[in-house]
Amino acid sequence: MKQLMLGNEAVARGLYEAGCAFVSSYPGTPSTEITEAIAKYPEVYAEWAPNEKVAMESAFGASLAGRRSFCGMKHVGLNVAADPLFTIAYTGVNAGMVIGVADDAGMHSSQNEQDSRHYARSAKIPMLEPSDSAEALAMAKAAYELSEQFDTPVLLKMCTRVSHSQSVVETGVRTEALKEYVKDIPKYVMMPGNAKRRHPVVEARTRALVEFAETTELNRLEEGSDHTMGFITSSTSYQYIKEVYGDTYPVLKLGMIWPMPEKKLRDFAASVDTVVVVEELDSFIQAHCEHLGIACKGKDTFSCIDELSQNRVADAMGVTHDAGIALSEAIPPRPPVMCAGCPHRGLFYTLKKNKLTVLGDIGCYTLGAVAPLGAVDTVICMGASVSGIHGFSKSQQGKADNKTVAVIGDSTFMHSGITGLVNMAYNESNATVIIVDNSITGMTGHQQNPTTGFNLKGDPCAKIDLETLCRAVGIKRVRVVDPYNLAQCDEAIQEELAAQEPSVIISRRPCALLKYVKHKAPLAVDESKCVGCKACMKIGCPAISIVGGKAKVDATQCVGCGVCEQLCKLGALKEV
């Protein structure tokens, strides 16, 4: 049946049809919906793991046990899982194992623009790269065949525009795949003696995969009428070339991006006057072509920064296209903001008020860096706030002790904040970590995590108690505050910063967008009391603005959190 499917849902469908029985992932835009979609198939066991490393190792365990398995993550998540990746590349698999990784060229929702294709080459495992939903479905299935045929984990590389575009797919039926577990110490125990014998196997596998790359239909030649130029490309870049040129020039579209064929590339190059490699981000296909001695255009023409589009391809190639009309009027930007009623707002207001240095982390609360709060000093990666504050406060030799905090979300803390906290306890930091516990993984669209008490399928499950966990690793000062209560936040922060030992403050209040959260009536401004002092504007709430010199509350947005009310000394903001 023909259906319109998101690229990520199509991957999930492909996994399902291929008989995948075990999925473990950590959410991360733009990869999240693969795992959310696969969780809807009752035949598949699917879970959120605390981080990508755990997810990948769990998926390996399932493969070892004889079940086709999958783990999904965003590009930076693959960094976290890189450790098992490079060694599973040596052991190979039992049942097929596919690793989904989604890049974010253009950084729509990411902290860097890394190109995950390099992992395939470095770890010496094959990578498939679909260019739309139909290919995503087909390649998810092909990845399992490849995985079992060549005894290797297979990377399935998505990107924002493939993951988050819907296009037409034709679905099939599920085929169950099951293997027996057989103990095999030389293959699966990677101590030096065994690993030394596995490395040549890996190299031989790559050579065999190059042979496969020469003939597989995953790498497709599309003929053109004009051979003065020919394109080598993959993924969305293929779509942009076809959009600009149609069937004019021949195109070699690589569906298997690693390893690449050699003869096929050389033959293609010989068939056209000029070879143009079109790829987003780094020179990867181009670098390989040049390694083979194929002269080509590529990064001299197309930027390695940002995603491509049909106009960017056309502009780089000197092809004209229609232009629209831009207004001469300056249009103010509309950056993302913390939602009205966001529990993070009151906390970040308190941090700013106390003029603290804030080591931030990855999540909605990264928005604490945005004006007017501007309360975050650094954001690097998952967990870096906790590890970072340890180094920061140790190196400031006491000067930072009363002025510096780390802020990390509940899900991010479970992902990789715990080990940083262990380090703080073990090496005796004198710093304060604030866990902003909004009872959900917010940024990626409300996924459950080990602290919420529910699993991926929505069923009740074990709930990690953050207070107990922090105490167990050796933090004696652990307290909970309500971020809607500014005085309570202020008091807790000042007391914990004054204490001469590491401490944890849990700022706890569920995300205001969660369906079960009951909102209070919106506040309104008593215009007879409001003098337009703008004290309520300091929190950057999208529901409050100044109209005609007085504060005004947008009743459609306000959820009655009352944080602004605490800032108004004149009592002008009140429940209606």
């Binding site: 729509h108 493939v162 629209g324 207004l327 103010p332 913390m338 004006a371 950057g540």
Partner: protein
């Protein structure tokens, strides 16, 4: 058929994903090749959001670029003005006249531009501006702005009312069906 391009723009949280879902369902029944690109993640949080809907015999690129949109459907006035450059020559903007202040305006770092509809028209842009929010409230919920806008957009296509209604039935929960059908009708009549 040459590829047609519809951009749906607005403020994160206004319901543009439902509008694109509805269009996707509608277009699929006619057997078109379709691509719909959405925005997820960080930019959804009250930021400027855009969804691209493309359909025709064969659609390649998942995105709509500058100078390509046949229609820009906007949930908010400033957002309509932000994306005008994406309209192709002869294209049309259909916009709700509702104004939502972005954070730079809220904190006084920028002004919300005045008379945007007039300025767009003066620049030679075909703008169809109307109060979709009031019609949505009249239908029973401010959240139905997306369906009011789809109703208004429907005047530009030859899909039958039955086809639209079928797509709405497939896209909204049963308990909100009547409300959304009413919202669609009010939008189509506006």
């Amino acid at each position: 058929m040459k590829t047609k391009n519809i951009m749906i723009v607005g403020v994160g949280g206004q319901g543009s994903l439902l509008a694109s879902k509805l269009l996707g369902r509608l277009l699929l029944t006619r057997g078109y090749d379709i691509k719909v690109s959405e925005v997820h993640g960080m930019s959804q949080r009250g930021g400027s959001v855009v969804t691209y809907v493309r359909f025709g015999d064969k659609v390649y690129s998942p995105v709509i670029d500058k100078g390509e949109a046949d229609y820009i459907v906007s949930f908010e006035l400033l957002e309509a003005a932000r994306w005008t450059e994406y309209l192709k020559p002869g294209g049309k903007i259909i916009t709700n006249i509702q104004q939502i202040n972005p954070m730079p305006v809220i904190i006084g770092a920028a002004q919300y531009p005045e008379a945007l509809v007039e300025k767009m028209s003066a620049a030679g842009i075909d703008v169809d501006a109307f109060d979709a929010l009031s019609l949505a409230e009249q239908a029973g919920s401010a959240k139905a702005v997306n369906i009011v806008l789809m109703g208004h957009l429907s005047k530009n296509f030859d899909f039958t009312r039955e086809e639209w209604m079928q797509a709405i039935e497939q896209s909204v929960p049963a308990k909100f069906l009547e409300l959304n059908k009413k919202a669609f009708t009010l939008g189509a009549e506006a």
